[in-house]
Subunit: 228 residues, 2 copies
DNA sequence: ATTATCTATAGATCTATAGATAATGC
DNA sequence: ATTATCTATAGATCTATAGATAATGC
């Protein structure tokens, strides 16, 4: 529980000297992320967050106007870019197998970071319909990634016969990507043990093999339009 | 919010006459399930549960000794049997395609029930590691189903060449079943709209087609051991 | 003057218990 | 006598604000 309940010695009254308690704002965000992941939005209290940081509750209100604002700030700072930015960073699109393996590798590299695992917990807890609005909607985030992968990656591949064409590009993306998202939620969450994480990564690799063996096609013998 | 905030007229003091407020205990459980699904364990209060049922908070304590006990009671009443009982009810194992389609149909029939959708929300919210212990562990429940399907269904099929054998039975089960579980959590939760539910069911069907087209094999031309 | 902290506190809400009361079932 | 409810209340905890105080940066 209170692993590092922060210095018991109460601070003296006014604004602390420069170097003493650096970047309280981000320490509040870190503590909040931790507690939201463990206890959910409703279960985490300003009081616990403050005590984790080592300041009083009222000090928090100098940085954020409410608990919900803390939540929204967190969520807006770790939204889509982290999922899709990976895609943008220019992996070679020519060979599906290489591309998908590299994409999965990068996505999992990001998702396996401690901070991202905390986000996975929060997403899992709070992304249902009745939840804290403001930012994180799990289905929404994933739909976005799915749409782009379908349009920009699987669609073109299908057009040149690199992947099977008896399912839509959208569905191929789904079969590729959603199991990975599922693994993230179940195996790469905030309190996942080393063992769970390894199990998750192993599953992901095996899924990739399975998917590739199902979806790939050898490129057709170049019935190029220029020589019909 | 308070769709049916229950009769505003306060009841009179003592035990109510027989037919008047029937089966309070199960009405408490229903209200609690509803609120746990919407607000999470921490976010749902005894007070709200009581007000939903139309009794005072203290009346609840005549039925359950604590909020946690209500939660545990709920979870113990809707555990594994609902997932696996479906499997037991004797669907013909001879033809994989028929069996798997029927299994999926029954599982989704159960999961699409309003009450089961509420459970999906609660599972999603509270099954992370740091959560309310007692009963529901999502990974645990699914592992159990997976193990049995692998041993009793996919294993035998693989032995007789009905499914591909370049992946373990366990992994084939995973590729078959986990996308369905994922759909349940994301599309068949407590507050899912009609539209989300339909999208989920459509995805499930398409997944089934995809999986069958990947995993099935025509039975081998009966190289039976008796005629070698 | 502004900022980041503290002390003190208001007011809401929450879980749970004690004790009164009225119907039930023996 | 038991059970299911109520009224009343204790005591914890929670969010948030007011106002004092001390360092910072102009």
């Amino acid at each position: 529980m209170n692993e590092e309940m922060a210095s018991k010695i109460p601070r003296r009254r006014g604004r602390p000297p420069k170097g003493e308690a650096p970047d309280t704002r981000s320490r509040i965000l870190d503590a909040a992320l931790d507690l939201f992941a463990r206890d959910g939005f409703a279960g985490a209290s300003i009081r616990k967050i403050a005590s984790e940081v080592g300041i009083t509750e009222s000090a928090i209100y100098a940085h954020f106007e409410s608990k919900r604002k803390i939540y929204e700030t967190l969520m807006s700072e770790a939204g889509p870019p982290l999922v899709l930015g990976v895609l943008e960073s220019g992996v070679d699109l020519a060979d599906p197998e290489t591309f998908l393996r590299e994409l999965a590798r990068r996505v999992f590299e990001a998702w396996d970071e401690p901070r991202m695992r905390l986000f996975a917990s929060v997403l899992m807890r709070e992304s249902g319909a009745g939840s804290v609005s403001g930012g994180a909607n799990l289905v929404g985030l994933i739909e976005e990634a799915r749409r782009r992968l379908a349009e920009e990656v699987f669609g073109p591949w299908m057009a040149v016969g690199l992947v099977r064409d008896d399912f839509s590009p959208e569905h191929l993306v789904w079969e590729f990507f959603h199991p990975l998202a599922y693994i993230r939620l179940l195996y790469l969450h905030g309190q996942a043990t080393e063992e769970e994480r390894r199990a998750g990564l192993r599953l992901a690799e095996e899924h990739l093999d399975f998917f590739l063996s199902c979806a790939l096609r050898d490129p057709e013998p170049q019935t190029s339009t220029s020589e019909q």
